[in-house]
């Protein structure tokens, strides 16, 4: 068993927090309380959780437009995140980033990147810092199957190998890059197999199984921390919601989403596995469900009540010094 | 009385503190006059020459080439009278440099780098710190205070403050990055500095040629010391003067020219009269004042003449000019109408029996009229050869006196300059002169049609005391007859 009871409960809580957070912001978005665009991570929780449990606060991650889950898993404050997404004062980015640029810089979450493929080069830089400064930190770039095809991703993977930096390229293949199937857009069909061509090893994992993802990520982190250079992971999963909130997902097969929400729900799978292995009881998990629900509700209400940023904030923090 | 005088390092520009001796123009033992340039000195901004303020002999050089000396230090000794080595030694030993100019307190520790933010690498282009002409205003509260070189201010603000004698310590700074701005200085000084109005455009493109007066410091403009002094006394900024002296330096003459230009008048130089000019002036004044001139003109069609000339030059190998034809025609006309070939004097009219024709030739500095004698007896080729020879020798100045005196009739041809018509002045003691203009293609009426012909206008100026109008007209008809029937000139 890759996770002991304590670890499992922590993992479960994280996954549940992400799930409830995403559904809550979806609700609020539907009510018109959230401006702009929203890209939800619901369904992919086991991947963010499995990786971030293997990371410390001073390890680095970069994420994509679908970044709430990574931010929460890395230790981002849920209340601050809620405020940020709702464009309120006290948001984690002072209301200046929003959902697509959610960040928890102090916890090593270097930001969600709205440019597809924007993250991988950045993480090479973070890993380079770690190597140059002699820390044993690692950097993880969460990228989708869409981002896996970007030139910047290829360049970053090559550079990571050339410079032998501790970077993990974690590809979450949820089957869709916007409205196009990964099976169509990824020419090699298999993202993990590209890694060898760049000169780095790769792991493939079932992204719906927290035990499996935790184990795979643990291997990858160990590989990097021991100075063996970069490594890639391909985690296969699905996303429950559309590319963006409001996406009718007409490109998905009839009944597909409903089916996957039953068959590929990492929380359902985790619960079943853990109980079968007699790791936890249902009651313990239900308790966590209740706590998380309330926690999210409190955060949402606080965010709804908070004021927006003052207009005087418009020109602050463009530069580090007087311009 | 002092016979020994010190030549010291002069102060050029308020910021100059020292200079390097680059070249001595004189040597020990040379005689020196007041104002002579003795030595070249190079500062961080200019190279200029120090002059002598006294006349005498250079008896000792103290500063060597390559040596850098502070302003006021001794470079050489000039003796205005008898002296000896011991006296010179004593003079040098006793020499004390004068206090180096206006003692503007230097901020402590200026030697250390780094240079200030506005430091300019290409120092040749930088202006010294203070304007040459300080503000006329008497010192007031705004001008008091410690040296303000370290006060952060924009370049323009500092410039204006200096020009108006305002110490930057007395100005509240609201400019960019906490520096004193132009607006701050203007506010403190109750002034407003704006560009001049449209009319004072520079560069010669405006209708009113009012020269722009520069106000920028001119200490870096290379000029002779005398020129600089003169410019200062005339309140001329050397930025407004074009330097034409050695190495582009401004000379005294350049400053004088600029001074006159500043008044808006045309610049002039004066040249003394040559004897030729004097003669021309005297003769032609007398002619104009004493002779009752009148003029008669006629247009002559010269197409046939030009054909004839082309044949004679091209096929027969002659070198005959149109003017040669005119000379021949006049010779023939003077035979047909001899009343034009006369001279008037108080008692008698003198009638000549041959045509000696004076031909006006432009030479350097004036004109001269060599004479072709007895034109009637000469054929065109001979006239052409003589006229060419005389003209050439007139240009080089080898004509004999007898070759340009005498003459009974004159011809002046300005056709080569394309003039339509002109009236010549009679050369005393002659009584007439023919002015020949350019032959130009023109429409003329023949029968009832308009055709194109080459038309040359000739004008006869005649002395009415000797020649009456009808005679003059007949003469012109005769000239026209010859020129329009060139075959008649071949005999």
């Amino acid at each position: 068993m890759s996770l002991d009871k304590k670890q499992f409960l922590q993992a479960y809580r994280t996954m549940r927090t992400i799930r409830d957070f995403e559904y809550r912001v979806s609700d609020e978005f539907g009510k018109g309380n959230i401006p702009g665009f929203l890209h939800l991570y619901a369904g992919q929780e086991a991947i963010a959780t499995g990786m971030c449990m293997n990371l410390d606060d001073d390890d680095y991650i970069v994420s994509t437009h679908r970044g709430h889950g990574h931010c929460i898993a890395k230790g981002g404050d849920v209340g601050d995140m809620m405020k940020e997404i709702m464009a309120k004062q006290g948001g984690s980015c002072a209301g200046k980033g929003g959902s697509m640029h959610i960040a928890a810089v102090e916890k090593g979450m270097l930001g969600a990147n709205a440019i597809v493929g924007g993250g991988p080069p950045l993480i090479v830089g973070a890993a380079l810092s770690a190597k140059t400064l002699g820390t044993d930190r690692v950097g993880v770039s969460f990228t989708g199957d869409g981002g896996s095809n970007q030139g910047t991703t290829f360049e970053a993977m090559n550079l990571a190998v050339v410079l032998q930096v501790p970077a993990i390229f974690l590809f979450e293949n949820n089957g869709y890059g916007e409205g196009t199937a990964a099976g169509y857009a990824v020419g090699s069909k298999d993202i993990a197999s590209r890694a060898a061509a760049f000169g780095m090893p790769a792991l493939k994992v079932d992204g719906a199984d927290i035990f499996a993802t935790y184990e795979a990520c643990k291997k990858a982190v160990k590989h990097c921390r021991s100075g063996k250079g970069p490594i890639a992971i391909e985690a296969t999963i699905t996303r429950f919601r559309g590319h963006f909130e409001g996406d009718a997902q007409a490109y998905r097969g009839k009944g597909e989403v409903k089916r996957l929400m039953k068959d590929m729900d990492c929380l359902i799978i985790a619960t079943a596995n853990a109980i079968k292995k007699k790791l936890v009881t249902k009651a313990e998990l239900t308790k966590i469900d209740k706590e998380v629900a309330e926690y999210i509700d409190v955060a949402a209400k606080a965010a709804l009540a908070a004021p927006g940023p003052d207009v005087s904030e418009l020109l602050t923090d463009v530069y580090s010094s007087a311009y | 009385m002092n016979t020994l005088h010190a030549l010291t390092v002069p102060k050029w520009g308020m910021s100059m503190e020292e200079g390097e001796i680059t070249e001595w123009r004189v040597a020990v033992g040379d005689k020196i006059a007041v104002g002579d340039e003795l030595v070249d000195i190079e500062t961080s901004k200019i190279v200029n020459a120090a002059e002598s303020a006294v006349a005498g002999t250079l008896v000792r050089i103290v500063g060597d080439v390559g040596q850098t000396l502070k302003v006021g230090m001794l470079m050489a000794v000039v003796a205005s009278g008898e002296t000896n080595d011991a006296a010179i030694d004593e003079f040098i030993a006793a020499f004390v440099p004068a206090a180096a100019g206006a003692a503007r307190a230097q901020p402590a520790g200026t030697q250390a780098p780094p240079p200030p933010a506005a430091a300019v690498p290409q120092v040749a282009h930088a202006l010294p710190d203070a304007p040459v002409q300080p503000a006329a205003a008497a010192p007031n509260a705004l001008s008091q205070g410690p040296d303000d070189a370290e006060v952060k201010a924009s370049v323009v603000a500092r410039r204006i403050a200096r020009a108006h004698n305002i110490n930057l310590h007395n100005v509240g700074a609201t400019g960019r990055n906490g520096r004193v701005s132009k607006a701050d200085v203007e506010k403190a000084g109750g002034i407003r500095v704006v560009a001049e109005a449209d009319e004072a455009a520079v560069g010669g493109a405006s209708a009113r040629q009012e020269p722009r007066r520069s106000t920028a410091d001119d200490a870096h403009i290379a000029s002779t010391p005398v020129a600089r002094r003169l410019a200062r006394s005339l309140n001329i900024n050397l930025n407004d003067v074009t330097g034409t002296s050695r190495r582009g330096r401004v000379s005294k003459e350049d400053v004088e020219r600029a001074a006159i230009a500043a008044t808006g008048l045309a610049y002039y130089t004066e040249t003394k009269h040559s004897s030729m000019r004097k003669t021309i002036a005297a003769r032609l004044s007398e002619s104009k004042q004493t002779i009752p001139h009148y003029r008669v003109s006629v247009d002559i069609e010269i197409d046939s003449l030009l054909q004839q000339r082309a044949y004679m030059n091209g096929t027969l190998g002659h070198k005959i000019s149109v003017n040669d034809f005119v000379i021949k025609a006049c010779g023939g006309a003077l035979t047909q109408v001899p009343q034009v070939n006369v001279q008037y004097s108080q008692d008698v009219i003198r009638q000549f029996d041959q045509a000696d024709i004076s031909v006006a030739v432009a030479v350097k500095g004036g004109l001269i009229t060599p004479v072709i004698r007895n034109v009637g007896a000469k054929g065109l080729p001979q006239i052409a050869a003589e006229s060419r020879d005389l003209a050439h020798r007139a240009q080089v100045g080898t004509l004999g006196v007898d070759e340009f005196t005498g003459g009974t009739f004159s011809i002046s041809n300005l056709g080569m300059f394309g003039v339509d018509q002109f009236d010549a002045i009679i050369n005393l003691p002659q009584a007439a002169i023919l002015a020949v203009a350019a032959g130009v293609k023109k429409p003329v009426v023949r029968g009832d049609s308009i055709v194109v012909a080459t038309v040359m206008r000739v004008s006869l100026s005649a002395d009415h005391r000797a020649i009456d109008g009808a005679v003059a007209a007949q003469f012109l008809q005769s000239v026209k007859g010859f020129l329009e029937n060139p075959a008649s000139m071949l005999i």
Binding site: G97, L110, S320 | P114, V155, A195, A216
Partner: protein, 337 residues
Amino acid sequence: MPIKTYRQAINEAMAQEMRRDSTVIVIGEDVAGGAGCDGDRDAYGGVMGVTKGLFPEFGESRVIDTPITESAIMGAAAGAAQTGLRPIAELMFMDFLGVCFDQIYNQAAKFRYMFGGKAQCPMVVRTMAGAGLRGGAQHSQNLTQMVTMVPGLKVVCPTNAYDAKGLLITAIRDNDCVIFVEDKFLYETSCEVPDEMYTIPFGEANFLREGTDVTIVGISNCVNKALAVADRLAAEGISCDVIDPRTTSPLDEEAIIESVETTGRLVIVDEMTPRCGIAADISSIIAEKAFGALRAPIRKVTAAHSPIPFAPALEDAWMPQESDIEEAVRFVLGYKR
């Protein structure tokens, strides 16, 4: 004071900062040269030799040769800057900006602001710009305007060795992403450069010449051409303020406005295309903020609206010439309504 070239001054700024601060690294293509080869390491020291000598002194952990992958280089530099290093990334030719523009204008420029002031990106992008060396259309551009317009970036364009050293040291110490535009025509020019370290603040223009008749602003090497013209015109009694902004972001607008208030006449020279270049930008600022002071239209002297030709006569005609600058100065001086 020692005389150093523009190239040497830039090299010295980097070497001295790298000695002073161990988090400063250099990264780019052939910044040393010879990686993985059988011959010399530090074979190039940069394609123009500007980083020569850094690899032997600081080693491969601080002078990093990369594959030819501008996006990855700039992205890595941005990521490294966010996480404790101070990278000096080299974009070999400014023409290559397009290949990595996202990393610069969308990532590095925006981290601080997008993340509410909690992130910073203290990196320098050193890049080489300028025509005149017959490099052709894709190796000769000056794209200063494309980075000047981006909030969050600072843009520096030194015109002489002294300024280059001081401005680069300031750039390396600055906590924002600074684009350091080196005019490739100037590498061999030289002047006095102190041995010790010094900084020149951003946003402070330098007056290369002072005068009262015309204000001439020049960007990069164009200001040196403007100075040559002004020197010649001085002999005719025309005196000019010749202004080198040194940084286009931040821009010392005030210095230009003040000068125009005293001269009334402005000529701006840059080596960019006529539309949306720095000359166009400064024109609009002055027209807006100093309109009343103007006695003549503002004249821009820029390159031509075409890709840069290869043939020498054509390339020279493409670039702004001293004769163009002189003509513009005379125009504004002679202008009558």
